[in-house]
Amino acid sequence: MVDTVIEKRYEVTDRPLDAARLAASVATAACGAVTTFVGLVRDHNAGRRVLWLEYEAYAPLARATFERIGAEAEAYWPSVRLAIHHRTGTLKIGEASVVIAAASPHRADAFCACRYAIERVKQIAPVWKHEHFEGGDVWIEGATANPDDEPARQLAFERACS
């Protein structure tokens, strides 16, 4: 049977992520490169032994934010096609929490756009991790999300190209 499911480029899901499939979904015949970033659940953080993470998202705003990040990246690197999938729910050590794929005719743009996208996800995506560690649990709180914060966007761009 032909698989007729069209992969959504920007998605929040409680199902396991598939980096190879996401990469294939953005690559076209004109692409000489596809880069992927896979964020994994790590077994330690800030000196704590992490047992598992729970991810929570404001899903509709997260999808819209991923689309916005894609549009920003495609404005900097017009040849790039980007996809971002983020997982929610309970994730074990070693599981993928986020997968980003960037396809382009040439590798430089694909690498830059992929790095840019993960930096922006960390700045503005409405997603939260609740860390369960040996001896307790804590909500991790990073950046105050503000998509219009121009210096933050510039910082993401500089990191992407460093």
Partner: protein, 81 residues
């Protein structure tokens, strides 16, 4: 007007609810909704300098006007990835 307030992560835990209904006066803005829920749950107040807000699933400002039936979300600092 009646608006739905959505809370996430630590804010949700502090308030003990992911969704609240608030009755607000005409002319209310997002900040009016925030002040209303902080009155009901003062522990949320310490988050004020760090939160973001969204109205009807789009990022918004605290000065964004509200209308009857709107959904306002308050977001603690994010930690995706």
């Amino acid at each position: 007007m009646l608006v739905t307030v959505r809370l996430f992560a630590r804010l949700r835990e502090l308030a003990g609810a992911s969704e609240l209904t608030c009755e607000l006066p005409d002319g209310a803005v997002a900040r009016t909704a925030w002040e209303s829920i902080v009155r009901g749950c003062p522990a949320l107040g310490e988050y004020e300098p760090a939160i973001s807000c969204a109205v009807n699933e789009e990022y918004a400002r605290f000065t964004t006007p509200l209308k009857n039936g709107d959904e306002v979300a308050f977001l603690p600092p994010v930690s995706g990835g």
